[in-house]
C-alpha cells in the first residue's frame, strides 16, 4: 500500500470513528419515573457488547443488551431527586452524561426508615454547657448506602446535600464525620437489603464537661418497627433539681395527648419539610417532686405511629438521663 493510500485509509477510519461517535449520542428514555422504581428505560450510546450493569445514583440495576448500542434497564427504587446514571461494563466504570429524575414520595416499602432523635449542631445550654450530638456509623461487612446525612466537608463541598453517603466496614473515625442536620430529629434511609449491615452509635454530650462524663447514648430507632400508636414510659423521675423534657416524633404532624402523672396536655407536632425530617415536638409540663410518674403519649383518632422519649437533665451538672420505650 502506498503512503498515500495508507493515509487515506487512516483518515477514512478516523472519520468513520468520529461519525460513529456523533451518530450515537448518549440518551435515556424516559428520563424520569417514580421513586418506587420499575420504570423500563432505554439507554443508548457508544455501548459495546459486554455485559452491563447500570447504577442510578448509588443503586445498582442489571442492564440487558437489546440491540446495537442499546440497553434496557428497570430502574431500582430510589429516594426522589435527580441522580447520575453510570454504567459498569464488565469490570470498568463508564461515566455518562445521563441523569434520571425520581419523582414522587420515597418508597417506604423499599427502605428502612431510621430515626436519629437528636442530631443537631452545637447548642449552648445552661451553666456554660455546649451540647453536641455525635453520630458514628459503620458497616458490619459490606458497604451500606445511607440517605439523609451530610458528610462534613472541610474545604470544599462538591456533593449535593441530598447525595447519599457510603459507609464502609472498619472506617476510621475521621472518615465518619457528618454535619448534624436534624431539627432536632432526622430520618435517614437505608435500603431494606442493607439495613442489617448498618451499625450506629448516637451520643449527646456536653463538650465543656468531657473530662467528667462521656455523654449519653441516644437510641437509633428503626422507626417503622419500633414506633407505636401508644408510647408508655412507666417511671420518669421528677425531681426539682432536674428538668424533664419529652420529645415526640411521627411521620405526620398529628396532635398527641400526653398524660404525666396527674397532668394532661396536648402537643401539636410540627410538620417536617421533607421525608428526612420527622414531624416532631417537645413538651415539658411535668409535675415536680412527684416521684416516678407514668407518662403516656397517644395520637387519638389516628393510626399514625409515634415514638417518644424523655430526658432528665441535672440543672447543675447538665448530665442527661434518658427514659425510652422498653422493652
Amino acid at each position: 500500500m502506498t503512503p498515500f493510500k495508507r493515509a487515506s485509509v487512516l483518515i477514512a477510519l478516523l472519520f468513520s470513528f468520529s461519525v460513529f461517535a456523533q451518530e450515537i449520542p448518549w440518551s435515556i428514555t424516559p428520563a424520569s419515573g417514580p421513586a418506587s422504581g420499575g420504570t423500563i428505560v432505554t439507554i443508548r450510546g457508544p455501548i459495546g457488547s459486554w455485559p452491563y450493569d447500570a447504577v442510578f445514583g448509588s443503586v445498582w440495576a442489571s442492564a440487558r443488551l437489546i440491540g446495537d448500542h442499546t440497553l434496557e434497564v428497570v430502574t431500582p427504587p430510589h429516594p426522589p431527586g435527580t441522580v447520575n446514571v453510570r454504567l459498569f461494563e464488565y469490570d470498568i466504570w463508564r461515566e455518562t452524561p445521563l441523569q434520571f429524575t425520581y419523582t414522587g414520595n420515597l418508597p417506604e416499602e423499599a427502605f428502612e426508615r431510621i430515626l436519629l432523635p437528636v442530631y443537631v449542631p452545637p447548642t449552648f445550654g445552661a451553666q456554660g454547657a455546649e451540647f453536641r450530638s455525635d453520630l458514628r456509623l459503620a458497616a458490619k461487612t459490606n458497604d451500606v448506602t445511607v440517605w439523609g446525612l451530610v458528610r462534613d466537608c472541610i474545604v470544599l463541598c462538591v456533593e449535593p446535600p441530598d447525595s447519599p453517603v457510603t459507609v464502609s466496614s472498619w472506617m476510621r473515625p475521621e472518615e465518619l464525620l457528618f454535619s448534624p442536620n436534624g431539627t432536632p430529629g432526622r430520618f435517614i434511609y437505608v435500603r431494606n437489603e442493607e439495613a442489617h449491615q448498618l451499625v450506629a452509635h448516637l451520643r449527646a454530650f456536653d463538650v465543656s464537661r468531657e473530662a467528667t462524663n462521656f455523654g449519653t447514648e441516644i437510641p437509633v430507632v428503626r422507626f417503622d418497627s419500633e414506633a407505636d400508636t401508644t408510647i408508655v414510659l412507666p417511671a420518669l423521675p421528677t425531681d426539682r433539681r432536674f428538668r424533664n423534657n419529652l420529645r415526640v416524633y411521627a411521620t405526620e404532624p398529628v396532635v398527641v395527648t400526653i398524660t404525666a402523672g396527674d397532668i394532661q396536655g396536648s402537643l401539636q407536632l410540627a410538620a417536617g419539610r421533607s421525608e428526612y425530617e420527622p414531624a416532631q415536638g417537645s413538651w415539658g409540663n411535668f409535675p415536680v417532686d412527684a416521684g416516678l410518674v407514668r407518662v403516656t403519649i397517644t395520637a387519638p383518632g389516628t393510626t399514625t405511629k409515634i415514638w417518644a422519649f424523655a430526658t432528665v437533665t441535672n440543672n447543675d451538672t447538665q448530665v442527661i438521663t434518658t427514659v425510652t420505650p422498653q422493652p
Binding site: 431510621i114 451499625v199 452509635h201 412507666p234 417511671a235 433539681r241 438521663t321 422498653q326 422493652p327
Partner: protein, 257 residues
C-alpha cells in the same frame, strides 16, 4: 370416712401450694418471650465512694391490667410465694405496678424474665443504673431491656468508634441463653488487631440465669473498635460501657439500630 376426707383435703392443699410455688423448668418459646435484664444487682460499692444500684420498673397497660412476668422476684407483692422463689409477678397499670423498691435485685448480674408473647406489647419497663451517692448530680444511665428478637442471631456484632481516654475505663458484657464462645477482636487506632476468645459461662442453674462473660482487655487509651463474632449461630447480646474514673458516670454503647 372423715379421716379420708381430711387426707384428701390435705392432698389438694399440698398440690395447690406446690403449683403456686412451682418454678417452670422450661418455657415454651412458642408461648413465652425471653427478655434480658442486663443488670439486676444489689447495691455494689465502686471507686471514689460510689455505690451503684439498679432500679427496675415494670408496668402493664391500662387495657390489659395484668401482665404475668416470670423471673423477677418481687417480694411477694400480690401473689403468695411461699418459697420466695421465682414466682410470676402480676404487673398492673396502677398502684399494682412493679416499682423499683419492690424488686429483689439478685441477678448474676443479669436475669432473663419471661412473659407470654401476647402480653409483651403491653409490658412497659425502665431499667436504670445509678450511683446513689451522687443522686444530686445525675440520675444515672438507662440500660435497655432486651427482647430476644434483638439478640444477635447472625453471629456478628460490631461496636465502633469509642474514644476512651485515661479518664475512662471500658468494659464489655456479653449475654446468651446458652454456653458459647464469642471471638472478640479489638482494633486500636493504629489498625492493630488483637483477637480474644471469650467464653460465656452459666451464672446459675435456672432458665432465668443468662450465660455471661465480662471483658475489659482494651487499649489503655485511644480509639478502638470491637468486632464480635460467634463461632456458631447462637443468639447473644452484648453492650459496652465507658465509666468516668472520677465521677463514675456511665455511658452505654449498645447495638444500634
Amino acid at each position: 370416712m372423715r379421716t379420708m376426707q381430711r387426707r384428701a383435703a390435705l392432698l389438694v392443699t399440698v398440690a395447690l401450694c406446690a403449683s403456686l410455688a412451682a418454678q417452670p423448668a422450661t418455657f415454651d418459646p412458642v408461648h413465652y418471650e425471653r427478655i434480658l435484664v442486663p443488670l439486676l444487682i444489689p447495691q455494689a460499692p465502686g471507686a471514689f465512694g460510689a455505690v451503684f444500684a439498679t432500679d427496675l420498673s415494670l408496668m402493664g397497660s391500662e387495657e390489659q391490667r395484668s401482665v404475668l412476668v416470670y423471673g423477677i422476684r418481687a417480694g411477694c407483692l400480690h401473689v403468695p410465694c411461699p418459697n420466695q422463689g421465682l414466682d410470676a409477678v402480676n404487673v398492673g397499670s396502677g398502684e399494682d405496678r412493679l416499682s423499683p423498691g419492690a424488686v429483689q435485685y439478685d441477678g448474676t448480674p443479669g436475669r432473663f424474665m419471661y412473659v407470654a408473647r401476647h402480653q409483651v406489647p403491653r409490658l412497659y419497663g425502665h431499667l436504670r443504673v445509678r450511683d446513689i451517692t451522687r443522686s444530686a448530680q445525675n440520675l444515672g444511665t438507662e440500660i435497655p431491656l432486651v427482647r430476644e428478637s434483638d439478640f444477635i442471631r447472625t453471629g456478628e456484632m460490631v461496636f465502633r468508634n469509642e474514644y476512651p481516654s485515661k479518664l475512662y475505663r471500658s468494659s464489655l458484657r456479653l449475654y446468651a441463653p446458652q454456653a458459647m464462645r464469642v471471638h472478640v477482636t479489638v482494633v486500636d487506632e493504629y489498625g492493630n488487631e488483637t483477637a480474644h476468645n471469650v467464653d460465656l459461662h452459666a451464672t446459675g442453674s435456672t432458665i432465668y440465669d443468662p450465660h455471661y462473660a465480662y471483658f475489659a482487655d482494651f487499649p489503655a487509651h485511644g480509639w478502638f473498635a470491637l468486632h464480635l463474632k460467634a463461632d456458631v449461630e447462637k443468639p447473644f447480646w452484648a453492650f459496652a460501657t465507658l465509666t468516668n474514673n472520677e465521677t463514675q458516670m456511665i455511658t452505654t454503647i449498645t447495638p444500634q439500630p
